[in-house]
């Protein structure tokens, strides 16, 4: 009976399992395998290269810069986005006039596809665009934004936060609303101030959604591609050359698919390492 059940279950599962295997798992394995091979003109076709592609990458200056830029970007963007999402979630769960409407306005950019957002912000960041228009109105000097080595990452972070903060805020609002009303009221009666209530009462109770947001946000920020490809092409001087874009340009502009596969493997390994580190940290101080 149990065996028959297994066969029927398998029939229902088969299409999805084939899809997941062929479209998710096989390419992941193939990236690992191909990263150990190289194209040889001399011997015609692909030959085993061992760790050759990896040592090539590590000795490549552009790649090392790309790793550095990606790590700097990761360290900056994730704390900023998680903190802003949390503060906004707290703000928009207070009983205040118009809170629902203002919250909706923050969530709205979720609907815009990231590539479309990048196109919009490419016009905003133009020298004669909206951003400089606002600065001039405030009496501030115009800024170069995307063409400045020091401003390019902050500019990308602003654009990515405009896209993402509303989305992550949704998870935290859901978490805060799970906090029982009595708990908040008890803290209020005990005379805890608003800051105290947020840090000692709300924050510990939304640990789980907060941990989820941190990890999921980190993963999505390590895969940022469209804004780099559309706005900066990794420039100026490689200062916004995030790994995902570097993989893409290595595969298609430079045309070295095997080294690009090795870089994909490094990108995924880096992602897993950072996420594992975050899990340890989050568990560590519990």
């Amino acid at each position: 009976m149990k065996q028959r059940q297994g066969l029927i279950a398998l029939a229902f599962l088969a299409p999805a399992l084939v899809c997941l295997a062929v479209l998710r798992i096989v390419p992941a394995i193939s990236a690992v395998v191909e990263s150990f091979y190289t194209e040889s003109l001399l011997r015609g076709g692909r030959v085993f290269a061992g760790l050759g592609n990896y040592t090539d990458l590590l000795s490549n200056k552009d790649f090392r810069q790309s790793i550095g830029v990606t790590l700097l970007f990761t360290v900056l963007v994730n704390p900023i986005q998680v903190a802003v999402s949390f503060l906004l979630a707290v703000l928009f769960t207070q009983r205040a006039a118009g809170a629902k409407l203002w919250r909706t306005l923050v969530i709205l950019p979720i609907a815009t596809p990231p590539a479309v957002s990048a196109v919009i912000w490419s016009v905003i960041y133009r020298p004669d665009g909206l951003a400089n228009g606002v600065l001039e109105r405030l009496g501030l000097p115009a800024q170069p934004f995307l063409t400045s080595p020091s401003q390019v990452l902050p500019s990308l972070i602003v654009l990515l936060s405009w896209i993402g903060v509303g989305y992550w805020m949704l998870f935290l609002i859901a978490g805060i609303q799970e906090v029982p009303e009595e708990v908040r009221e008890a803290a209020l009666l005990d005379g805890a101030g608003p800051w105290r209530r947020m840090v000692s009462v709300v924050l510990p109770l939304v640990r789980r959604p907060l941990a989820f947001v941190l990890v999921a946000d980190t993963v999505s920020n390590l895969l940022v591609f469209a804004p780099v490809q559309i706005l900066t092409k990794g420039g100026p001087n490689g200062n916004s050359n995030l790994l995902m874009y570097d993989v893409y340009s290595r595969a298609y502009a430079i045309g070295d698919i095997h080294v690009a596969q090795a870089e994909v493997v490094i990108l995924v390994a880096l992602t897993l390492a950072i996420v594992a580190g975050q899990f340890r940290l989050l568990r560590g101080d519990q």
């Binding site: 297994g6 279950a9 899809c19 990231p114 016009v123 905003i124 001039e136 469209a226 995902m244």
Partner: protein
């Protein structure tokens, strides 16, 4: 007093987030030649157009972006229909049966959504090239249909359907496909809508994959076409903004229509 200052603060934040979109909508309603005319100095006219014109939108109909938007709709709709069929049957297989290796199969499903799709897009695209799937609708749709997250979401919901209901139906002579079709599906509308939204947004928001696999005029998708237009030297920004509005409003209408389920599926993935 405190309430009032909180709503003022909320209002300032909300408006700041909204300004870029408002600017886009306003400029989609005026000729492209005037896009930058109202920026120096900034005034209320920057964000409001008193004599709106729809010329950008009518120009959009016959442009590459119009065609690309249609392609996006076709690809997303196909992904939702095929993807829901595949994911719902798989979730049923995982939820309704006891069998050896169920844990393993479930593990594969979870593993498949832990590997981010964009990271494997480049290796997958070299495979698709070998299989002659570049510049085909099949090539664009396929990666969207097997969604581990959607299977996971549906399975969680299916597990809540009482076993007695299934036993009774089985005794009445209903086959397993009948149980799936006439008991599980009708009871799972919220989860199906949530999973459908997930499949739709995955496809509508995609950029890396359509850039790698479908860039000829017949198969190009909206976001790729829009970013191509932006890269040109003499860009009609009126057209760009009208395209941006259309590509945003379509998912917005879908999300707003199913708002309840969207928030539900978002919060259930976050809390479980």
């Amino acid at each position: 007093m405190k309430r009032a200052s909180l709503s003022v603060l909320g209002g300032v934040v909300g408006i700041l987030f909204f300004l870029p979109l408002l600017w886009v909508v306003t400029n989609s309603l005026r000729p492209g030649s005037e896009t930058f005319a109202n920026l120096n100095p900034l005034s209320w006219q920057t964000f409001l157009e008193l004599r709106p014109t729809l010329t950008n939108y009518s120009a959009l109909l016959n442009s590459a972006i119009g065609r690309a938007t249609l392609n996006s709709i076709v690809v997303s709709a196909a992904t939702v229909v095929i993807g829901l069929a595949i994911c719902a049957t798989a979730a049923f297989g995982l939820a309704a049966f006891q069998f050896r290796g169920r844990g393993l199969v479930f593990g594969i499903v979870v593993l498949s959504f832990l590997v981010p799709f964009d990271a494997i897009a480049i290796p997958l695209s070299t495979m698709f090239r070998d299989w002659h799937l570049t510049n085909t609708f099949a090539g664009l749709v396929l990666p969207g249909i097997g969604n581990g997250m959607a299977i996971f979401l549906l399975r969680q919901f299916f597990l809540g359907i009482p076993a007695e209901l299934v036993e009774a139906a089985r005794l009445d002579g209903l086959g397993w496909f009948g149980v799936f079709r006439w008991i599980y599906l009708p009871l799972s509308k919220p989860a199906l809508i949530g999973a459908g939204l997930m499949l739709f947004l995955f496809q509508w928001q995609a950029y890396v994959w359509p850039l790698l696999i479908g860039t000829d005029a017949k198969h190009i998708l909206g976001p790729v076409a829009l970013s191509n237009l932006q890269g040109q030297n003499f860009t009609d920004y009126g057209l760009v903004f009208a395209g941006a509005v259309v590509l945003t409003v379509i998912p917005l209408v879908v999300i707003a229509g199913f708002q309840r389920y969207f928030v539900q599926s978002v919060s259930s993935t976050g809390l479980k």
